[in-house]
């Protein structure tokens, strides 16, 4: 089942297209790694798809009524903002806002929030103040918040940035499992190795355009990587799964 389809989506900043004529579909079970150098338009593509910036072209999400959109897709912005010293459980339960009144937390809400907390390994942190946690812990709290929104589709921006290797892997595994359960995930990632190992599909962007879309081996070809990122790379299948490593700058 298709969770999101973009048809010739374009976002202009002034005259200049930041996202240029992108076609993309996200199916159930997809864990898409959105790759591209800084300024390739990854964030803007996702924000455009969500209707947070003005676009031309079509995004299937914009066909959903604004009020119902939040039931279909959850968004994890890169900024990881938590403005007030609120406890973890309350932050996670903010994800239930689209599902009804804030005042009365229903049993369903409770169950969904608890599941999200468990899933992100935050048990025992429920009553800790979120703003006093480490960056990695805060990132997990915010992912749990997005999970609590209980949507079939999740878009996440730079979700592993600033996390230590263990947390990076655990976050990727959580997304992997969610996709396996039938959700669709689109996550922009800078760590190509991490993306190659965990994502079911990779989408490569360059200067606003979508230049490759497919399985990791089809997308992270030496030519693509050289052209888009300007680096030489080493990509090999091993007993430990695929290993991708950039090895040098193209002169």
């Amino acid at each position: 089942m298709t969770l999101m389809s973009l048809d010739r989506l374009t976002v202009l900043r002034g005259e200049c297209p930041v996202v240029d004529d992108v076609n993309l579909t996200v199916e159930k079970g997809d864990f898409i790694g959105l790759l591209g150098p800084n300024g390739a338009g990854k964030t803007t593509l996702m924000r455009g798809a969500l209707g947070l910036v003005k676009t031309t072209g079509a995004s299937s999400i914009l066909d959903i009524k604004p009020a119902a959109r939040a039931h279909h897709v959850a968004w994890l912005p890169q900024s990881r903002e938590i403005a007030w010293p609120i406890d973890v459980e309350t932050i996670v339960s903010l994800g239930r806002i689209p599902h009804g009144s804030q005042k009365l937390i229903t049993n369903t809400d409770r169950a969904v929030v608890d599941r999200a907390i468990k899933r992100l390994d935050l048990t025992g942190f429920e009553h800790r103040i979120a703003t006093r946690l480490s960056g990695g812990e805060q990132a997990r709290v915010l992912i749990a918040r997005a999970l609590a929104q209980d949507t079939p589709l999740i878009l996440a921006d730079e979700v592993t940035a600033g996390l230590d290797p263990a947390h990076q892997i655990s976050v990727m595994q959580i997304f992997q499992n969610l996709a396996a359960e039938g959700k669709g995930i689109v996550a922009s990632i800078h760590d190509l190795g991490l993306a190659a190992r965990h994502c079911t599909r990779l989408v490569l962007m360059h200067q606003g355009k979508l230049v490759a879309d497919g399985a990791p081996t089809d997308v992270l070809t030496p030519e693509n990587v050289k052209q888009v990122f300007g680096v030489e790379s080493y990509f090999v299948q091993t007993d430990h799964g695929p290993i991708f490593q950039p090895v040098g700058i193209v002169r």
Binding site: L52, P77, W84, P85, I86, I91, L94, I97, L142, Q149
Partner: protein, 329 residues
């Protein structure tokens, strides 16, 4: 409800202060006589004093407190900045300018609603300007600088209008408009301000969900189905209506919207939606207490409410700026 205890404590405190407010006054009357006069039917001077002087004063203190507490909490929730407060960002002084213009041009005399409407318009201009200047994420520096500029301009123009007045008393009233006072207000003022305030309160009280969502930033809030443009307008009209109407009858009272949410934030787990109602009740208690204080400290002088609030609020404000600076660095 998790915060039932806080709710009961705040309501009890407000009720006690409300009754205390009815008992404090220059006419030395016993506690029981005063309260009995509220229920007596015959018209004697004491009953007149209780109904026409002390009751409106206490009611106005509650109304002003609710308006200021609620506006402060809502502005802070929207801008995600604990320094946002109607007085500091120039909303109150702009409302005062509107009120003074209405009074001195005779608009207020021609139709009764002219006064609160003019004050409301002044407040709208200030809130819109602040939201425009400070941007969606109200940075402390821009917020404070914009607030200083707007307050200074509105204050100067208020002085100008009062200086141009043909009434010899008008000039000396600048201090009332800048500092606020509830002395000798009447039920006329209560009925004039109340409809606007209720409109404002309803607008602001409906912002709880959006404020909670905004904790995670504008993008996250919008993706959770919060309509940001509507939130912005609801905030502008809510703050302008409640603070505008309040300023029109009582002058500008500063710092309430800063002090009250700051004290109560920890008791509601910093959750912006809970802070709204808590600050509303807490604001009422604070203004009642300040208004009792002005009558006890200097009974035979008309000490301005804003003076007491500034003495309490300014050190806290400085502390917040210090904390804010440390967080940024």
């Amino acid at each position: 409800m998790r915060y039932l205890r806080l709710f009961i404590i705040l309501c009890t405190l407000t009720s006690v202060l409300f009754i205390a407010s009815l008992l404090v006054g220059p006419a030395n009357v016993g506690v029981f006589d005063s309260l009995a006069a509220l229920w007596s039917d015959d018209t004697n001077p004491l009953q007149l004093v209780m109904y026409e002087i002390r009751l409106p004063r206490a009611i106005l203190a509650v109304m002003a407190g609710v308006s200021l507490g609620l506006s402060g909490a809502a502005l802070q929730g929207y801008l995600r900045n604990p320094l946002a407060e109607p007085g500091l960002i120039g909303v109150s002084s702009s409302a005062a300018l509107g009120a003074v213009i209405a009074l001195q041009t005779g608009i207020a005399a021609q139709f009764a609603l002219g006064l609160p409407l003019a004050a409301l318009s002044g407040a709208v201009v200030a809130v819109v300007l602040i939201l425009f200047l400070a941007g969606p994420r109200g940075g402390s520096l821009t917020l404070i600088l914009a607030g200083i500029a707007i307050s200074a301009l509105a204050g100067a123009l208020t002085s100008l209008v009062l200086n141009l007045s043909p009434n010899p008393f008008a000039v000396s009233e600048i201090v009332f408009w800048m500092m606020g006072s509830l002395t000798d207000r009447s039920m006329i003022h209560v009925t004039l301000a109340l409809p606007f305030m209720i409109l404002g309160w309803v607008m602001l009280a409906g912002l709880g969900r959006s404020m909670d969502a905004l904790t995670l930033g504008e993008d996250a809030a919008e993706s959770m189905g919060i309509h940001l443009t509507r939130v912005r307008w609801q905030l502008i009209i809510g703050v302008a209506a409640s603070v505008g109407a309040m300023t029109a009858v009582a002058g500008a009272i500063g710092f309430v919207g800063l002090v009250v949410p700051h004290i109560l934030r920890r008791f509601v787990g910093s959750r912006p939606s809970h802070l709204l109602w808590a600050s509303a009740i807490g604001g009422a208690a604070t203004v009642l207490a300040a208004d009792i204080a002005v009558r006890l400290i200097l009974p035979d002088r008309d000490l301005k409410l804003g003076v007491v609030m500034a003495i309490i609020g300014a050190p806290l404000f400085l502390h917040l700026i210090y904390q804010n600076r440390r967080d940024v660095v």
